[in-house]
Amino acid sequence: MGSILVVAEIQKGKVREASYELVSFARKVGEATGREVKSLVLGQGVSGLAEELSKKGGGEVFAADDAALANYNAGGHFAAVKAAIDAAAPDLILLSNTPSGWDVAPRVAATLDAAFVSDCFDIEVDGGELVFLRRFFNGKLDARLRPAGLPIVATMQPGATAAFSAASEGKVTPLSITVGEGGTKFIEVKAASAKGVDLTKAEIIISGGRSLGGPEKFEEVIKPLADALGGAMGASRPVVDAGWLPHAHQVGSSGQVVSPKLYVACGISGAIQHLVGMKSSNFIIAINKDPDAPIFEVANLGVVGDLFEVVPKLTEAVKTAKG
């Protein structure tokens, strides 16, 4: 039996929460199947973080500490993961489904000729084999996936399980890497622009999705309700992609993460990238014509119906209630 390799991620000088979630998954599978958990920490000046991870569930932690890893770059990251695989001999390699994880993980899998599963929210052990659970069709269907053999490269959805937090024995092993020339070169990171509304400060957000069909419908249907309640307008990604509203209105993993007192989702299906941006709202109302829309899973109150009928009536009723 091989080991399990957790590829940890450093963010703002810390081991990312999602990496400790990977440790939780690794420990669960490790205990059920007798696999040892090992980890990789990569970056520049990361030996202290490797030490920390080794004492918090990471097991033997390989530390690739190299100037070539100072900023994320596909070539350097790939070289470090490959070196850790050679050192740790894993048959299960876990990464987080984050911009670095989704960039490098499929490349690692293809190079190893390994089975690949992505954005999973759970791992089950069934008859000694591993079964991965994930969503298909933008959250509309769940799937059980069974790799036909080993090794397996898997990316896990951030937030899918609790982060591992107990103390444990471990050790740090330095890992040297060679990064070839000619790969993808890092130039710079541009911070998100802070122009426009600040949704994180809004107490009430009324959001609309692709089904609104155009910018004029936001003006006609969504804005009046937002105005009546003194709230702000939010949107799913397709709305911003199409240029109906500026990016500052986008709620989700590539937009704003909000937790208002009230979030009303109108005609938004509830893809995971949207849910991570709003599911910690205090109270969620969802209006969708599809009773199976995944948005209803995180909502407190749901209305199965046509938003073009429900929202204007709601706006009128709110105005009447205010007198």
Partner: protein
């Protein structure tokens, strides 16, 4: 510059999805299909490069007969040629199987730049692009939201979390996966559609590509055991009644929350 764009035909965004009898995929009969959103942005990016500095755009798709229509649309939008890998032997491939097929096509075409979408709207695996780059041993980047081409190098802004961007540079040949919203996608004009009638769609089988027995369901390293509707969990309390009744209850709740 020669550009290869990989396009997948997927169920239309508004199609009703029902799981088929054996639970392994959706029922495809009677639903509408379209070019994957992410791939539409990839094709647009390729056509913009061609508009700016010339070259050739080749679109490639793996899939059954229905895919012809998407390839015709791509040709109508301005792609120069199409390659259609149409073979039941390719059915049920996992992303690595699809990447192997596309790699075989790419080896014959030797493009300077390859595009795939970041992910497909059906499988959502987001794997084919980086896998294809690995098989071709070319550098890659993912989730591109803008792209510039200057003397043999490609500069890409890739999307990170929360709206941050990372600027990267790649030397051709290389592969870029595109994120939605990267550009506004053109429509196929009437003139384009007429011109497309004279363009060729090169149909190939898995055996033509030297991959007999290496792709398809049998070779897939990951099996879809079962697709099912997500468990409802705690779920929302679904309000019943007429629209007026429902709206009344919503207003009641908003008052209760102290927001009215």
């Amino acid at each position: 510059m020669k550009i290869m764009v990989c396009i997948k035909q997927v169920p239309h965004q508004d199609a009703r999805l029902d799981v088929k009898g054996d639970g392994t995929w959706i029922q495809e009969e009677g639903i509408k299909f379209e070019i994957n959103q992410y791939d539409q942005n990839a094709l647009e990016a390729a056509l913009q490069l061609k508009d700016a500095s010339g070259g050739e755009v080749v679109v490639v798709s793996v899939g059954p007969e229905r895919v012809t229509q998407s390839l015709r649309t791509a040709l109508g939008m301005g792609a120069d040629r199409a390659v259609h890998v149409k073979d039941p032997e390719a059915d049920g491939s996992d992303p690595l199987g699809i990447a192997k097929i596309l790699a075989a096509v790419a080896k014959a075409e030797s493009p300077d730049l390859l595009f795939t979408g970041f992910m497909s709207d059906d499988g959502n695996i987001a794997a084919v692009g980086p896998m294809l780059a690995a098989l071709l041993d070319v550098p890659h980047t993912t989730t591109a939201v803008s792209l510039k081409h200057e003397n043999g190098s490609i500069q890409v802004e890739r999307e990170l979390e929360g709206g941050a961007l990372e600027v990267v540079e790649l030397k051709t040949p290389c592969l870029v996966t595109t994120q939605t919203g990267m550009n506004q996608v053109r429509y196929a004009s009437l003139k384009g559609i007429m011109a497309a009638k004279k363009k060729t769609i090169d149909v190939k089988t898995v055996a033509d590509l030297g991959l007999a027995g290496q792709v398809g369901a049998g070779a897939a390293k990951v099996k879809i055991e079962k697709l099912y509707l997500p468990a409802k969990g705690q779920g929302a309390e679904i309000l019943s009644g007429s629209v007026d009744e429902v709206v009344g209850k919503l207003v009641g709740k908003i008052k209760e929350l102290g927001l009215l």
